[in-house]
């Protein structure tokens, strides 16, 4: 990335207390998003994708790390100044069923967002709400209805309109299409792309749908157990993944490879608990080329691999990158 990043976060750590244990939801994550970039984030459930999105928006308390948007550090902001900074970044949630207040007409929810930063007031707000509804492909006259009058896709459009009402430059789309029918999800993806064209928005596109990520993103970050294991251009990631976890993830994705091929790449075991992550590389207990398969590789158990550039912006956190390769594309 040569251009100055729109959003830059370094060494993000988020810890949740569950009973008497500390869960390290994010354990030293760096990420940057360029203006108008779509940056995909993939990984298993529980890997910290959602927490990353919320941490960037300062919706969860940070243990450490910094977040800057437009070159301005917002890590230390509180109260009113934090609320003002929020005009630059917004979020679209996974479930449009729970992201809209059931007791508030949708027009008022959007208007409230438009009014929040003092840019519009009075009748201007109504006009703006109408414009926003039309921008996301809905009729302006639905503003008086409550959320239960809408379908999932329509609700997601309303949630997008509400996010746009504060005129952000950056949007976290957290599994924004996961709970929708495939065809409806497709329409939402088209809408997100169209909005990027028209408004120059940048997205952090969090998803477990690899084909959607491949189609939308310029770059992809792969997360495992609260850490980044690989980050590179989408093209490189899907052609030449370097981390054994990424390879397994791609090979396991439905529809990419025949079942016999998929079966060879299936990971053993479950992801370890983030309450008590393994020392060294977090992936070693499941790694097909790790110490369980080659006892001489004790380094994996003891030294946490750094995220290093293999060249051309292909970052990977692995002591033995590119050992596991994807099956030959010919078998696809």
């Amino acid at each position: 990335m040569t251009a100055a990043p729109l959003l830059k976060a370094e060494d993000l750590r988020v810890v949740f207390r569950v009973d008497d244990h500390e869960v390290r939801a994010l354990d030293g994550v760096d990420i940057d998003v360029a203006p108008a970039e779509i940056h995909g984030v993939v990984g298993e459930s529980g890997c910290g994708k959602t927490t990353l999105g919320r941490a960037l928006l300062r919706l969860v308390p940070l243990r450490s790390g910094t977040v800057a948007i437009g070159g301005v550090d917002i890590t230390a902001l509180r109260g009113r100044s934090l609320r003002r900074a929020r005009a630059q970044m917004q979020m679209i949630f996974q479930s449009p069923w729970s992201s809209l207040n059931p007791r508030m007409p949708v027009g008022r929810a959007i208007g409230e967002a438009a009014r929040a930063h003092g840019r519009s007031r009075g009748r201007d707000v109504e006009v703006e709400v109408a414009e926003l509804l039309e921008l996301v492909g809905l009729d302006a006259d639905v503003a008086a209805r409550y959320p239960d009058a809408f379908s999932g896709g329509q609700r997601q459009r309303i949630a997008i309109a509400r996010a746009l009402a504060v005129r952000p430059r950056f949007i976290v789309a957290d599994e924004a299409i996961a709970s929708l029918d495939v065809s409806v999800g497709e329409q939402i993806v088209e809408l997100l792309l169209e909005l990027r064209e028209r408004l120059g928005l940048a997205y952090l596109f969090i998803s477990h749908d690899l084909s959607a990520v491949e189609r939308l993103s310029e770059r992809v970050t792969v997360m495992y157990l609260g850490t980044v294991v690989e980050r590179t251009s989408t093209e490189t990631l899907f052609r030449d993944p370097a981390h054994p976890y990424t390879v397994a993830l791609l090979a396991a994705a439905p529809g990419r490879y025949p079942r016999e091929v998929r079966r060879r790449y299936v990971l053993e075991g479950d992801p370890p608990s983030p309450i008590d992550p393994p020392p060294g590389c977090r992936f070693w207990p499941r790694c097909p080329v790790g110490p369980l398969h080659d006892p001489t590789r004790s380094v994996c158990r003891s030294v946490t691999p750094e995220l290093v550039d293999l060249g051309g912006g292909h970052h990977v956190a692995c002591h033995f990158p590119r050992e596991v390769r994807l099956p030959d594309p010919a078998v696809r």
Partner: protein, 283 residues
């Protein structure tokens, strides 16, 4: 076959439940209508004494008879209802506002404020409400203001607990997260998003608390720690008439029934509201 039976029992249960709910609504509406409209139709001064017609049984001039000072008991019961119910409603509204307000903020801000409020609530909850009311009334003396205080304070903890649990749960919903992400002020998030979605069960609790409040207001009046004579109040009328139970049983039965039916009505209404909001309140 089993399915048919069980679905029929379910239907029967729902019907019975609906009938009880209907009865609750009917009782509350009926009693409120009687005490609001009654004094407008039966224009007799409840304070006017008439020493010639003392302790009379029911007559055409005095359908419920007269008390020991010759005051018309029908007028006293009608006006007394206004006093008893008004004090109950005001007390519950105070308890609801203070209790739900504390609970709402506690569940939203958490931290030390939550701990502090909940420990105070725990302390208040350690006393039986009626005993606490009695202690407050005894310490502060009789009178309308002190009755309101004595009835409202013991009702605060339940509202606080209930609203806090609602507030805790709703604060986790994504629309609240979205409201915070938009940059709304905390008070706006609280009053526009958390409160409207959490208030349902509180109305159920309010109805049940009204039943308890009527009992306490009348109870304090009965033992002389509540509203003072000569002002009419159901509990006070009951204790006055009790001595002359054999001369005029109607004078005991009518205010007694008024108290009981009010309590029953508010409880059934609470159940009805519980069904409406689909919460397990009440029972």
């Amino acid at each position: 076959m089993t399915v048919a039976v069980s679905s029929r029992t379910l239907a029967l249960r729902r019907l019975r439940r609906n009938r009880l709910s209907f009865l609750g609504v009917l009782l509350v509406v009926g009693i409120v209508a009687v005490v609001v409209v009654g004094p407008l139709l039966w224009r007799v001064d409840p304070l006017a004494t008439d020493l010639v017609h003392r302790l009379e049984g029911p007559t055409a001039a005095h359908p419920l008879g007269t008390d020991v000072q010759g005051r018309d008991l029908l007028a006293r019961v009608l006006y007394g209802g206004r006093v008893t119910l008004l004090i109950s409603v005001v007390s519950v509204m105070i308890a609801l506002t203070v209790g739900s307000g504390l609970g709402l903020v506690s569940g939203f801000v958490r931290g030390w404020f939550d701990v502090l409020v909940m420990r105070i609530v725990d302390i208040l909850l350690a006393f039986p409400p009626l005993l606490l009311a009695l202690v407050i009334a005894a310490a502060r003396g009789p009178g309308v203001g002190n009755t309101i205080l004595a009835v409202s304070v013991p009702a605060i903890p339940r509202f606080a607990r209930l609203m806090r649990s609602q507030s805790l749960a709703i604060t986790e919903r994504e629309y609240v997260l979205a409201a915070r992400a938009i940059g709304l002020s905390p008070s706006r998030v609280l009053f526009r998003h958390v409160l409207p979605n959490g208030i349902g069960p509180v109305t159920v609790q309010a109805s049940i608390a009204l039943g308890i409040a009527v009992l306490e207001v009348a109870g304090l009046g009965f033992i002389g720690l509540g509203v003072q004579p000569p002002a009419p109040e159901w509990g006070a009328i009951l204790v006055d008439s009790r001595t002359y139970l054999l001369q005029n049983p109607v004078a005991v039965l009518v205010p007694g029934a008024a108290i009981s039916l009010s309590i029953l009505g508010f409880n059934l209404l609470g159940d009805a509201l519980g069904d409406l909001f689909d919460v397990g309140g009440g029972r």
